[in-house]
């Protein structure tokens, strides 16, 4: 192919390339969570299921008051890894033990919902998909594997809620190389039921992810509220500045 033709072909293919770079299991859209009750439920799931191994070391327990909880409620129901509500959400798991048991120290979750955003979706989409795509895999040391993070070190923390699932894979020809085959996801198979139905589990996971998103930037709501007033003021000020400018410039001939 000569150069101009190559160039045209290249430009025409640009959009495809942009999508091709985001290959892998597609992310599900995380349902929005704004009501305080959902976020409180998310907080409950978080301290019960995540905080055993993960810390949220930038997050103070009593910041949960922003979610409509009182110091008493936090102290009696959620304070698992600290003595006082003014302390940070640390974890009981020692880094050395984590290294021995899982091979890695579980990442801090304070800003995980911001860290996991990418071209493929928001951080919440990622977490919502990740937490719902664990499956039983006896070849893994923990017995669990994950669709979007293959060979993940983390076991399925909420398996009792979701139950045990395996994954069906089909072999397909590699579209890029006909001599090879690739394993393609063809659905989950429920092996043992959990305490929740599939819908209930999705709802609970969405609450948890909503909480993680809130925790990544607790000030986000206030920021947007304040932003509206700031913009209204600046718009008003701009009009004044515009007229002030015009009143001076009308004498310039």
């Amino acid at each position: 192919m000569n150069f101009p033709k190559k160039l045209i072909a290249m430009l025409a293919l640009l959009p495809c390339l942009a999508f091709a770079s985001e290959a892998g299991h597609p992310l599900d859209k995380a349902p929005a969570r704004e009501s305080l009750s959902s976020l409180q439920n998310g907080a409950k799931l978080f301290v019960n299921y995540c905080l055993n191994c993960h810390a949220a070391s930038s997050m103070r327990y009593n910041r949960l008051k922003d979610l409509g909880l009182t110091d008493e409620q936090i102290k009696n129901n959620l304070l698992f890894t600290a003595d006082k509500v003014g302390e940070m959400m640390t974890t009981a798991l020692r880094p050395a033990d984590a290294k021995a048991w899982f091979g890695v120290v579980p990442p801090d979750l304070s800003v995980i919902a911001r860290a996991k955003a990418s071209g493929a979706g928001t951080g919440s989409d990622y977490l919502y998909t990740y937490l719902r795509t664990f499956y039983k895999d006896d070849t893994r040391p923990t017995g669990w594997n994950n669709l979007i993070v293959p060979n993940v070190a983390m076991p399925h923390a909420m398996w009792q809620l979701q139950g045990v699932r395996t994954v069906k894979m089909v072999e397909e020809k590699d579209p890029h190389d006909p001599s090879k085959t690739v394993h393609k996801f063809a659905g989950f198979e429920q092996v043992a039921p959990g305490t929740m139905t599939a819908t209930e589990f999705d709802t609970a996971t969405a609450d948890l992810v909503g909480y993680l998103e809130w925790m990544a930037e607790p000030v986000a709501g206030k920021r947007k509220q304040l932003g509206v007033w700031v913009l209204l003021f600046l718009a008003f000020f701009s009009v004044l500045a515009w007229r002030l400018n015009a009143s001076f410039w009308k004498e310039v001939k």
């Binding site: 190559k6 160039l7 290249m10 430009l11 293919l13 640009l14 390339l17 942009a18 770079s21 070391s57 930038s58 997050m59 103070r60 910041r63 990442p107 801090d108 304070s110 800003v111 995980i112 911001r114 860290a115 996991k116 955003a117 990418s118 951080g123 990544a216 930037e217 607790p218 000030v219 920021r223 947007k224 304040l226 932003g227 509206v228 700031v230 913009l231 600046l234 718009a235 000020f237 701009s238 500045a241 515009w242 002030l244 400018n245 015009a246 001076f248 410039w249 009308k250 310039v252 001939k253």
Partner: protein, 470 residues
């Protein structure tokens, strides 16, 4: 030296007037104000493009003030830095606002500076006698890039860390001294606490001082020769009875009110980002930077922040295959100079010798593509400084240049933006080829400017500025 003369004001003069008189006798306060702004006469035909100088000044002040408050809570320590940024975001009253203003301000600064430079390109603002203004401005741009680079390490996220690692490693490409040099810059074998501490020092004191000094020089030089304007006419050639240019007006109050309006519109846009999209889709705050720096985990895709990506793309485009294209391009350029330029024989010979050394150096067995990538990377920035001497157009402003010159400028702009976009993406074979094409276009724009800027039919430049009363 004249004897000291006290200003005598009547006894019933206002206290403020007396105080000002007292100061003016000892320090040229009123004179400074009048020379630099109050009685500084600027052409009355400034348009939209002339707001970015004041805006850059505003953002500089914003960055310094927010920076001071961030420094009160930030910890330049590899074990504490990441956490201290989150501490600012959550625990420090209004810390989140200060931090978002600072992070958005960094990107805003570059947007403004790029637009400010575009103005220079459109209206030939860098042409004689304003070459030094351009050079001071260019130095500000360099200092700003260094300032942004050092500052970007401070949040100590993955992108901070690996971005710094990549850029410092570039110095390793310099023959003989490269490895020692990059070791000296880092203060360690990898980017570490030592690096963070020195980058902090550069970011909060060394470069801000340099920046402020250069801004003062930029403004003094500007106010010495006077501002250019969209018509590219020297307004000082037509003076009125009062000795001031007929087409000029005092900056105060006319450009004061103008700038207040410009600033208020800018603040609307700036606040929209700060309050509603501080991450700006991962361009102003990269997602990966919310993961603490980890020297053992290299991210799959290391992209510098968007304002560096056009130049970074030039670096990545310089692959081993591309060297042959470059060698051919250099040879062609030398032939072109010999045939088409009116330079002296000595200069032409010198250019040919330098080109020959470069071509030999580009042979695969001599210096590798990484070295030439760094050279082109540096050259793509430095070449901007040469504009006053590359532009040979008989008129300054694009308004009176041949129509097709606009398309040349647009093509250059498109190449620059495309390079910027490609620099944020993972390199693929196609992207690399596109980046190489844009790199050639980018350099051709500058290196062929002495010729193309003189070609075509130029329009008649009016003697007085184009101005439509409001």
């Amino acid at each position: 030296m004249a004897a000291f003369k006290e200003t005598k004001l009547p006894a019933n003069a206002p206290v403020a007037a007396k105080a000002l008189g007292w100061v003016d006798d000892r320090f040229p306060l009123t004179k400074l104000w009048n020379d630099q702004w109050g009685q500084y006469y600027a052409p009355k035909n400034f348009n939209f493009w002339y707001i970015f100088g004041s805006l850059a000044m505003l953002v500089l002040v914003l960055q310094i003030v927010t920076g001071i408050f961030l420094t009160m809570h930030y910890k330049p320590d590899a074990t504490l830095a990441f956490g201290s940024v989150e501490y600012i975001m959550r625990e420090v009253p209004w810390g989140w606002l200060v931090r978002y203003m600072h992070s958005t301000g960094a990107s805003a600064f570059f947007i403004i500076v790029y637009l400010h430079m575009t103005r220079g390109l459109l209206y030939g603002s860098y042409r004689k006698p304003r070459e030094l203004i351009w050079l001071f401005g260019f130095a500000i741009f360099l200092a700003l890039m260094a300032e942004a680079f050092f500052g970007y390490l401070l949040p100590w996220g993955q992108m901070s860390y690996w971005g710094a690692q990549v850029i410092v490693n570039l110095f390793g490409a310099i023959p003989f001294i490269g490895d020692t040099l990059s070791l000296w810059i880092r203060g360690d074998y990898v980017v570490s606490d030592a690096t963070l501490n020195r980058f902090f020092a550069f970011h909060v004191i060394a470069l801000p001082l340099v920046l402020l000094g250069l801004v003062v020089a930029h403004l003094i030089a500007l106010h010495e020769v006077g501002s250019s304007n969209p018509d590219g006419i020297e307004v000082k050639e037509h003076l009125g009875a009062d000795g001031h240019p007929l087409d000029s007006i005092p900056s105060h109050p006319y450009y004061s009110t103008h700038d207040i309006f410009g600033v208020s519109v800018f603040l609307v846009i700036f606040s929209a980002v700060v309050f509603f999209a501080p991450e700006m889709g991962g361009y102003f705050l990269e997602y990966n930077n919310f993961i603490p720096a980890d020297s053992l985990k290299t991210p799959a895709h290391i992209a510098p922040t968007w304002y560096f990506t056009p130049f970074y793309s030039v670096l990545r485009a310089t692959t081993a295959d591309f060297m042959y294209v470059l060698m051919a391009a250099i040879a062609a350029y030398v032939v072109f100079i010999w045939l088409k330029s009116r330079l002296s024989f000595k200069t032409k010979a010198a250019i040919a010798v330098v080109a020959l050394i470069m071509i030999v150096g580009m042979l695969p067995s001599v210096l590798d593509a990484k070295f030439w990538g760094v050279v082109l990377f540096g050259a793509s920035v430095m070449i901007i400084a040469g504009l006053p001497w590359l532009d040979h157009s008989p008129v300054k402003s694009i308004r009176y240049r041949p129509h097709w010159h606009k398309y040349v400028l647009i093509l250059f702009g498109v190449s620059f933006v495309t390079l910027g976009y490609l620099g944020t993406q993972l390199p693929t074979a196609t992207f690399t080829m596109l980046a190489q094409l844009c790199t050639l276009l980018y350099f051709s724009f500058f290196l062929l400017m002495p010729w193309w800027s003189t070609m075509g039919t130029f329009k008649i430049v009016p003697t007085r500025v184009t101005f439509h009363p409001h």
